[in-house]
């Protein structure tokens, strides 16, 4: 891995707080870490540790009070609203715990909402097959199970072949079996398309499949570990 790849995403001195005066609450208290290109990075921590806030700041939909984020040489703090939108459009894919699909667009069309944002999207039919949704491509979201809906939302995020895929508790609303399916899919996507994946979770088991584990507590990094004994999604249990 080259230095450039190692330094694909760097975070330094990142601080964020909410409220003011007595109600002021520091959510991120000075974070420093880097993520390499193509890395599967898991942000781990209990509720209120600041992991979702960190993910939102990385995704350019929230801003930090202090510190610097550099992604592929671009400083997020220097970007205005328009540039941030362009940055998200060209480089980021988002997967949330809730699938947030458009109810009156079918599976394929929901994925097309992602494809439309890219000048060079993936082949949608091929992706649908990878996602295991090809048979369901004409169905509306309310005709799908939770797992299938999350697959669609992953499809929508990766179809534009983003540099970074940000996943916020993608299995939070799913049962064990379906969660494993989704994790397998994310793993497959990471391997097949080489996207950098940053996943927020409070599920300790998931860290086993990550290249890079960052543990947060009270807005600070408690552990920043490169996982050398990585397991496949199929192998992990909880």
């Amino acid at each position: 891995m080259s230095n450039e790849e190692k330094m694909f995403l760097s975070v330094s001195g990142l601080k964020k707080s909410f409220g003011s005066g007595e109600t002021r609450q520091e959510v991120l208290r000075g974070l420093d870490f880097t993520v390499a290109k193509g890395e599967f990075c898991v942000l781990l921590g209990p509720s209120g540790s600041g992991k979702s806030t960190l993910l939102n700041i990385l995704g350019g939909i929230d801003s930090a009070d202090e510190g610097e984020i550099v992604i592929n040489g671009d400083k997020l703090a220097e970007m205005n609203e328009k540039s941030l939108t362009r940055y998200r459009r060209k480089h980021l894919g988002y997967v949330f715990q809730m699938y947030n699909l458009i109810p009156n667009l079918n599976v394929k069309e929901n994925i097309e909402t992602g494809a439309y944002l890219s000048d060079n999207p993936l082949d949608i039919d091929e992706l649908l097959k990878i996602l295991g949704l090809y048979e369901h491509r004409h169905k509306l979201p309310n005709q799908l199970s939770g797992g299938q809906q999350q697959r669609v939302s992953i499809g929508r995020a990766i179809v534009k072949n983003p540099d970074i895929l940000l996943c916020d508790e993608p299995t939070g609303a799913l049962d064990y079996k379906t969660s494993k399916e989704i994790l397998r899919l994310i793993e497959e996507v990471n391997q097949k398309y080489g996207n950098t994946i940053i996943m927020v979770t409070h599920n300790e088991a998931i860290k086993q499949m990550a290249d890079h584990i960052i543990k947060l507590r009270d807005g600070m990094i408690r552990h920043d570990i490169i996982n050398t004994e990585k397991l496949s999604a199929a192998e992990i249990e909880w």
């Binding site: 939102n56 947030n100 458009i102 109810p103 009156n104 909402t113 072949n161």
Partner: protein
């Protein structure tokens, strides 16, 4: 890590675009209803623009094609050829010089006569004296000779002899002597001097009087102004006004104005039938024929002469049937215009009105020039008439084309309708745009997480804005296309029928009207765009994170409003109300809009019917007869044996303003009148009618100024009080004051008023008769033109109310779907849920109605006043309690229908909805 070889696909089109159609199909009921409303309104307005433009174009073309007059004037009698020629020059006559010359000539004759008479008297006396002296001398000489002969005569004998000799001498010599002496005297210097002195004195008097009078005349007519002559061509356009009798309809009572065959001016367009060919044939106005149900082949009587109707036509000078230009409203119901041959004209036993039409030899470039030319021509007309050789020739009427309501009313009204319909469309579009905006705001809340995800994925604010605005804009475009197609096909005919039912108009050919397209497509599109943009863009400015967190309120209420210790349901309903305040405000706006329309649909017929039924009671006397002369041929004052009859005086003045010059009837009332009960009147004070006071906001103690119509003479009076009379815009004063103010004889009067019909005055002495039918003709005509449409309009309003309420309550229920679903899960029954979610809406509709009714009434009354300010006369907007009840019931009935649908909608909300993910 290197990416695997991956196959790229094609970038798809924007799937949100496809979603726009899907949204419209999913919510087809809402879109269909809005679309229907827009299509119908756009169709109607487009039809109105197309028809109006086409009709105005055909009216405009008819001016040239049918050689329409530039104006007309009516004289008291037929003008001699020289006068007509002089009028045609357009030159102002030198009135003082002509008058001076005439006076000098008259004076010379009189002075000469007076001097001659004086000289003759003098000569006769002198001749007689000379003969007497000579006779006496001769008789005395004879008597002296006789005395010498011894025959002395007595004194008595002498006197007798002198008398006999004087008689003989007078008989033999007097005439010749007088004649010789007169010849001598006339040649004498004294005679010439006496004549010259007398003439000098007379001229001095004449000059003084003429200078004084001319100064006054010049002030009154503004004759000192210098301007270029306005040469015109004058055409005889004589007519006879008489009763129109329809043998087939004995109840009908109308009047007809018949013209002799027209060949050079104010021609006609025969719409059906043919022109009259003999003295027993006539063509009449098409509109009146329709109204009075007169068909070709029918026989009508004009006074005593029978005519067969052989055609119906559009007369170039009567697009609206105004009998007199000072009438408040045209009257196509009981007033007709016809044309027959010259022989036919002679058969009619009625006074001829010496009406002359004129055209400018150099047509004016624009309206301003036309007005100026007409003013200059009037001066020429006044002076040329004054100096005419035809004795006592007077101008009875002067109406330039631009001020002739019979020519301009239809044109102006058609133009105004267009503007009004346009405004109606814009208001409706604005209301619908707000409904869309509220609906979209509600959708933004509902789809908040999806929007957040899309924004987080890189969709720009502009893309989201375009998507959410696409449906309403697309709908406007679709509605505009369909509406315009219907406008050019279906609605055009409806509007044309409406106009043909009101005015006498020529045939029209539909024209492509770009204005219709712009007004009915571009403007609604822009309105929809601007309103939705203003409302949506505010929300879309929020960050993706706020959308993801469903945090769309800019200012989050810190604490819930504390409610009193009411029952649970009352508090629940109050919470529902508080939560939906923006929607209820929209509901209120919608109800107000509908109420404004209903105020017009209900208020107009109510106002008309009020005036139709109460005008008779409003009149201070059943019959008012205005005489053309107060003395008959023998010089006796015209009287009536009617015991109820009472003399009165009347004249017409003008209340001048920039907007409209109002004709005001000024009455002189006898003291102690039983019909017009005036109190005492201070000098320089008058009473004004309630109609006058209401129209111009006059109060007791104010000062009013009225002017003579064709003269520059103003009258200023203080308002003593308001006289409770709403029949016309009038001023009242004592008859003595009237005669003094208007420089009339102390015992002068204009006519009689009575509570019984005055039937015993010879028609030839009657200039005008005012009955209750004359007073209600405005209301009758308006009722005929618009009454039937207003009933349809009430149904339309009901439908519009129902649709607006449907759309707005739908938004409220949709917004609360999840809560309703949750309430169902908790075990609430549909009835209870409906009472929670529908009751606040019902209350809002109920109270909105009251407020909206008041607002609608006020706006409509103001709007009505604006219309009436541009018309002669006045009747205020009247809406009786029953009208308000009707308005209320119309909207509430619409709401009742919608409530049933809403209840059904609530019943259909599934329980699982609350348990589903928010998407």
């Amino acid at each position: 890590m290197e990416k695997e070889r991956i196959s790229s696909g094609r970038r798809p089109g924007n799937p949100l675009r496809r979603r726009v159609w899907k949204d419209m199909i999913r919510d087809w009921k809402r879109y269909l209803m809005i679309c229907i409303m827009l299509v119908v309104t756009i169709g109607f307005v487009s039809g109105m623009y197309v028809t109006n433009n086409s009709m105005l174009h055909s009216l405009d073309s008819s001016i040239k094609a049918l050689r329409r007059e530039n104006g007309h004037f009516r004289l008291s009698e037929k003008a001699d050829e020289d006068t007509v020629k002089a009028i045609e020059t357009g030159v102002t006559a030198d009135v003082p010089e002509v008058f001076r010359e005439r006076a000098y000539n008259e004076a010379e004759e009189e002075v000469r006569k007076a001097v001659d008479e004086a000289v003759e008297e003098n000569v006769r006396t002198q001749v007689e004296e000379a003969i007497r002296t000579q006779t006496e001398a001769a008789v005395d000489e004879q008597l002296q000779q006789a005395e010498k002969a011894g025959m002395k005569a007595t004194e008595a004998e002498r006197t007798e002899m002198i008398a006999a000799a004087f008689d003989t001498a007078m008989k033999e010599n007097y005439d010749k002597a007088v004649s010789d002496a007169l010849d001598e005297a006339m040649k004498s210097e004294d005679y010439v001097k006496a004549f010259d002195d007398a003439m000098k004195e007379a001229k001095k008097e004449i000059d003084k009087e003429i200078d004084e009078k001319y100064t006054e005349l010049s002030d009154r007519y503004g004759l000192d102004e210098k301007f270029d002559p306005v040469p015109v061509t004058v055409y005889e356009d004589f007519y006879k006004d008489t009763d129109e009798i329809l043998p087939a309809d004995s109840d009908y009572s109308g009047r007809i104005r018949i013209y002799s065959e027209r060949a050079d001016i104010d021609l006609f367009d025969i719409l059906k039938g043919r022109a009259p060919q003999n003295s027993s044939e006539i063509i009449i106005d098409r509109m009146h024929a329709d109204n009075a149900k007169i068909s070709i082949g029918d026989t009508i009587k004009a006074g005593n002469a029978e005519f067969e109707v052989v055609g119906v036509a559009f007369f170039a000078d009567y697009s609206a049937l105004y009998e007199s230009n000072t009438d408040t409203m045209f009257d196509a119901l009981t007033f007709d215009v016809g044309m027959t041959t010259e022989e036919g004209f002679d058969r009619i036993d009625a006074n001829t009105s010496y009406n002359y039409a004129f055209t400018y030899n150099s047509p004016p470039a624009d309206k301003y020039e036309e007005k100026e030319m007409s003013e200059h021509f009037l001066k020429s007309l006044i002076t040329q008439t004054a100096v005419s050789d035809t004795e006592d020739l007077e101008i009875k009427d002067y109406v330039p084309a631009y001020a002739n309501q019979a020519l301009t009313f239809a044109e102006n009204d058609i133009g105004k309708d267009k503007a009004m319909a346009g405004v109606l469309l814009y208001i409706l579009t604005a209301v619908l745009a707000f409904i869309f905006a509220v609906n979209i705001s509600s959708t933004l809340e509902k789809e908040s997480a999806v929007i957040g995800t899309l924004r987080a994925s890189g969709y720009t604010r502009g893309e989201m804005l375009r998507y959410y605005m696409s449906a309403p804009l697309l709908l406007v475009v679709i509605a505009s296309v369909i509406g315009n197609i219907l406008g050019y096909t279906v609605f055009r005919n409806i509007v044309a029928d409406m106009y043909y039912n009101t005015y006498s108009l020529p045939k029209y050919v539909p024209l492509w009207t770009p204005e219709a397209f712009i007004r009915t497509t571009v403007i609604p599109f822009v309105l929809m765009l601007v309103i939705n943009f203003a409302v949506i863009t505010k929300t879309l400015k929020l960050s993706p994170l706020k959308f993801l967190r469903h945090d769309l309120k800019k200012s989050r209420r810190k604490k819930a409003v504390r409610l009193p210790k009411w029952g649970f349901f009352a508090r629940f309903r109050t919470r529902v109300f508080l939560q939906n305040i923006p929607n209820y405000i929209m509901l209120f706006v919608g109800v107000t809009f509908v109420m404004l329309l209903i105020s017009m649909a209900v208020g107009l017929p109510e106002t008309l019917s009020y005036y139709q039924s109460s005008m008779k009671d409003m009149m201070f006397a059943e019959d008012q007869v205005i005489l053309s002369t107060t003395e008959d041929e023998d010089g006796n004052t015209i009287t009536t044996p009617d015991e109820n009859a009472e003399r009165f005086s009347i004249t017409s003045l003008e209340r001048k303003s920039d907007m409209y010059n109002e004709d005001v009837s000024v009455y002189g009332i006898v003291s102690g009148s039983r019909y017009v009960k005036l109190g005492s009147c201070e000098e320089g004070s008058v009473y004004v009618s309630k109609a006058y006071a209401d129209k111009y906001g006059i109060r007791k103690g104010d000062t009013i100024t009225l002017s003579e119509k064709y003269e520059h003479k103003d009258y200023t009076w203080k308002v003593q009080d308001i006289y409770d009379y709403s029949g016309s815009v009038s001023v009242f004063m004592g008859i003595a004051q009237f005669n003094e103010v208007f420089d009339r004889d102390a015992d002068d009067f204009s006519g009689y008023m009575s509570d019984t019909m005055i039937t015993d005055i010879d028609k030839e002495y009657i200039a005008k008769e005012i009955t209750s039918q004359d007073m209600t003709k405005v209301a009758d005509q308006l009722d005929h033109s618009m009454g039937a449409y207003m009933t349809y309009f009430q149904y339309v309003c009901f439908i519009v109310a129902a649709i607006l309420l449907f759309l707005l309550t739908k938004i409220i229920i949709e917004k609360n779907e999840r809560s309703i679903s949750m309430a169902k899960i908790l075990g609430y029954e549909n009835g209870e849920i409906a009472s929670i979610y529908l009751f606040p809406t019902a209350l809002v509709v109920f109270f909105s109605e009251f407020l909206a009714m008041y607002l609608g009434y006020k706006i409509m009354a103001g709007f009505w006043k604006l219309i009436m300010m541009q018309m002669s006369g006045w009747f205020g907007f009247v809406l009786p309690a029953s009208g308000f009840v009707k308005e209320f019931l119309l909207v509430f009935a619409a709401y009742a229908v919608i409530t049933v649908l809403d209840f059904r909608r609530i019943r259909r909300i599934p329980k699982v909805l609350a348990l589903k993910n928010v998407e």
